[in-house]
Structures are given as C-alpha cells and as structure tokens.
Amino acid sequence: DEATTAYVTMLGDDALILGQRLSEWCGHAASVEVDLSLANMGLDLIGQATNWLGLAAQHDAKWADADALAFRRDVLDFRNCLMVEQPNGDFAQTMARQFLFSTWQHMLLERLAGSSDEAIAGIAAKSVKEVAYHRELARDWVVRLGDGTEESHEKMAAGIDWNWRFVPELFEVTEELEELVKRGIAVDPREFEADYRAEIEAALTEGTLAVPDDQRPILGGRRGHHSEHLGHLLAVMQYLPRTYPDAKW
C-alpha cells in the first residue's frame, strides 16, 4: 500500500542522501584511516538505500527500480529527514551529524527488524550491524574531538549546534505513520526518544560538551519540504541520468 511504500522510500532516502554526503569526502579526510572509514560508511548506506528503494520500487509500478527512484525524482518528492542533507562542513560537523543520525537509525532498525512486514524486517536486520558500527565510530569521534584540544572542542560544539535543530524531526509522527505502527509495520520513534536523548546526552557529557538548548523544531523533510542544500546535492548526483535519459550504464 501507499503508506508502506512511502515509509520504505523514507528509509531509503535517509540512507541515500547521507551516503551521498559521505562520498563527497573521498580523498579529502585528515588521514587515510579516516578516509577509509568514511568511504566504508558511505558504501554501507548506498547499499542500504539500494535495498530500501528497490523494495519501494517493487511496491510502486511508477518506478522501474531503485535507480529510477534515486535519480529521477526532484526535491519535492524526496522524503529524507533534513539532517542527512546538511552539508558536511568540517570533519566535526560531519561526525556530529553522523552521531545524531546513526544513533537514531540504529535504534529504529533494531526495532524494525521485528516488523510484521517481512521484507522490511529483512532489510532492517541486514542493516543493523552496519549501522551499529557507524554509531559507535561517530560516538568515538564526538567524544574524541569534544575532549581533545580546545580547537576540536569548539568545532565539535559547533557541529552539534548546527545539526541539533533537526533532531525533533526524527521523532515526528504523522497520522500515516501512526497507522503503520498500529499494523505492526513501522516503529513509533517516540518509543525510544528518551533512550536516544539519554544516549546523546551521555556522549556529549563524556566529550565535555554541553547539550544545546532546544529551539523551535524545523520540520518538513518527510513531506518534501527540504533545506536549500538538497537541491544542490541532487543536481550533482542526478546529472548523468538526467543528461542521458536513454542511456544504460
């Protein structure tokens, strides 16, 4: 049904857009090891996106396959959250984003592995280990940079600050989502919001970082109302299929 398709597309878009962002780092990290781990996370996420969007395309005859969904939609049809489309900024900002997102994604996928929809449960179960690693790695960097030098502390604080306003969106629940939760297909993120907040706070504290004040939540990504960043990302990402619509690669 449409709601399930939309939900699966949302999961795929989160992975796709964050994977694309991470792939922008290629060759530009502070050390070969960091380059490796960024490429590795990017690769995991592109793989997950392929699975989720492939499933969405199976549900919806309008789209031939995962590639069609990835490369032939414009901004208003992308359902990813605003956080994943945020610019990389410096390495601290990238890791802040990764930590805030992967922690949420991990808590979600753990629970989604028990979805009543077997296909969803399957992809979630396959992805959850990868994401556990992303979460761990990003958490390490948050602590390391937070409690590193004065400069790295400032940068990590700024990175957290930049992404903080997009946390509430991760826990937004629409009527559509509530319906899916009732049917056992989706997970209500509010179930683990307290856990999430506690874990974030613990990591920030360990990194000697303050928990930022909450501001008015910025929402809209799930309904196609994105920041200005996504359009630029898509212009680059979709250039080849858009320019050569008949080509196979």
């Binding site: 990290a29 502070a30 996106a49 490369f71 790295s152 990402m237 690669w249």
Partner: protein
C-alpha cells in the same frame, strides 16, 4: 663488502630480505622511494575517481566506485606500513609528497572529464598497474612483496570492473560510444607513460633488476601492456589512437608509436594538467585538518593519563 656480497647472494637466490636484515643504504633508499611513491599514487589516485563518486550514474556504479576507492585507501595503508618498516615515518613520507620531493604516478595528473574516464582508469590504469605490480609479488623486500600480493588481487578485480564498465558504454548510445572513444584517446598515451622512461633513459633499472626490486624493464612491461590491451580495445569496438600501431608477426607483438616523452617529463616536473589541483587537495586535506589528528592524540593522552591516575 662482505655484507654486500652476502646480501646480493641472498637476493640472487630469491630469498626475501626482512626489516631487521642488513641491507645496503642505496637499497633501503631506493625501496623507500619506490614504495612511498607507490603509496602516494594510491592516495592521490583516489582524487580523480572521487571526482565521479558523487556523479556515478547508478547506485550499483556508485557502490563499485566507493568500494574501489576504499581498496585504494587500503593499499595506501599497507604500502605506507611496508615503507615504515624501512625506518621512514608516514609523516615524513607525506611531507615529502606535499613539498614536491616525493613523486606519484604521472597518470593522476590528468583530469577525469567524463564518466567514461572512470571506466578507462579501471581498464587501462589499473591494467598498467597490475602489469607493473605482478612481478613485485616476488620483489626481494619481504614486506613489500607481501603487500603486493594483496594489492594485485584487488587491482585485477578493478581492472575487470573497469573493462566491464567500458563495454557498457561501447554497447550503449551514440553519446556513450563517443565518450568511451574520447576517454581512450586521452588515456592511452598517459597509460603507456606509467611504465616510466624507455630503458635506455632509465639509469637505475640495471641495479634495481639486480637487487630484484624490479623484475622486468620498463619497455618489456610496456610491450606486454600493449599486447594485452589492444585486442581488448578491438573487442570493445574502440580505436587505439596510434597510427603506428601494427601487429608484428616476427616479435609476436605490436609495434607502436613513440610516446611523447617531453610531455612525460613535464608531468614529472609537476606541470601536468591537474597537478596543481591534486597537490592542493592533498595539502589542504592534510594541513587544514591537522587539528583532527592533534585532537585524536590529545584525547588519547588524556585517557592514558586517566588510566594511570
């Protein structure tokens, strides 16, 4: 002299030299130069491909390219480690790269202009790299030889993927075919340059051969590459951009035109088309992010101090 004789005898007997073994200073220096140059090439080589990861035309191609670039970072790591066993730190090697003292493969100073260039790099550049590296699996320095075993396995996989990507283009639309041919036109000669100057202009070859750091000459390897690659181009329906290319029955190989060595030496001097871009990217990644490495060290020191306390 006794030490040198013993060393040369071991090498001649195809024994591996290990880090703690005695070795001539020139051997050590040549190896550090060669291995670090190889490591730098892996790292700088991520840039031309990284240029297309964000624009890969399908999720599958994006994943393949990400995996490939990841492999290259991995190769860079093994090689830096192998070089470090010779007593030079990674920081020293990287500083030498950034100051222009150390070199990396000239090929990465050419731009990746279209998607077909990614296919061409896999096919030609990884192909040439393998040709260079396969003999190095039996090179005389143990850690280098062992690193090469892992590297070669992955490179030949990359080469096959690159050729497959090229075939997808030559079997595609007219525009894709044009891209493919244009990429071959631009990458062919630089690929031949990857084997280094002609033997008669390669003064260190003889000694490197004797020490089994090298096991085949530049010209031998170049010939092999041409002989293997030309039929692949033909199979793909592509024209090799060399009017002098002709099968030579007698030598059972191709005759081919003269490489533009002026261009090669200019690129070695750092005058390649995107040399400035490559060095700028590497320097900025390293210098403007020194704070990341400093923070990691500082954090580790703090933790160590806490554990003691």
């Amino acid at each position: 002299q006794e030490l040198i004789d013993a060393f040369e005898a071991r090498v001649a007997a195809d024994e591996f030299i290990e880090p703690k073994d005695w070795m001539p200073e020139a051997y050590r220096k040549t190896l550090v130069r060669q291995i670090s140059q190889h490591a730098h090439s892996e790292i700088v080589g991520m840039l031309p491909e990284g240029n297309w990861i964000t624009r890969a035309p399908s999720l599958r191609r994006k994943a393949i390219l990400l995996a490939k670039v990841q492999d290259e970072a991995g190769h860079g790591l093994y090689l830096y480690c192998a070089a470090e066993t010779l007593g030079t730190s990674r920081e020293e090697m990287i500083e030498a790269l950034h100051s222009g003292k150390a070199k990396y493969s000239t090929i990465f100073n050419y731009p990746t202009l279209t998607w077909a260039d990614i296919a061409a790099i896999g096919w030609l550049v990884d192909g040439a790299a393998i040709m260079n590296q396969v003999p190095l699996q039996r090179t005389s320095y143990g850690p280098y030889a062992r690193a090469m075993v892992r590297v070669c396995k992955e490179e030949s996989f990359h080469q096959r993927q690159g050729y497959e990507a090229m075939l997808a283009l030559t079997n595609g639309t007219e525009e894709q075919k044009r891209m493919a041919q244009d990429a071959l036109n631009r990458w062919w000669w630089p690929s031949l340059m990857m084997f280094g100057p002609p033997d008669d202009k390669s003064p260190n070859t003889e000694r490197s051969m004797r020490w089994r750091i090298k096991r085949e000459t530049n010209d031998e390897l170049r010939q092999k590459f041409v002989d293997i690659t030309v039929p692949q181009a033909e199979f793909a329906g592509l024209t090799v951009p060399d009017p002098d290319l002709a099968w030579n029955e007698d030598k059972n190989g191709y005759d081919f035109g003269e490489v533009d060595w002026e261009e090669f030496y200019a690129v070695v001097r750092g005058e390649g088309p995107v040399a400035k871009e490559r060095m700028k990217a590497r320097r900025e990644a390293w210098e403007s992010q020194a704070w990341v490495r400093a923070a990691a060290d500082a954090h580790q020191a703090k933790r160590a101090a806490k554990q003691v306390a």
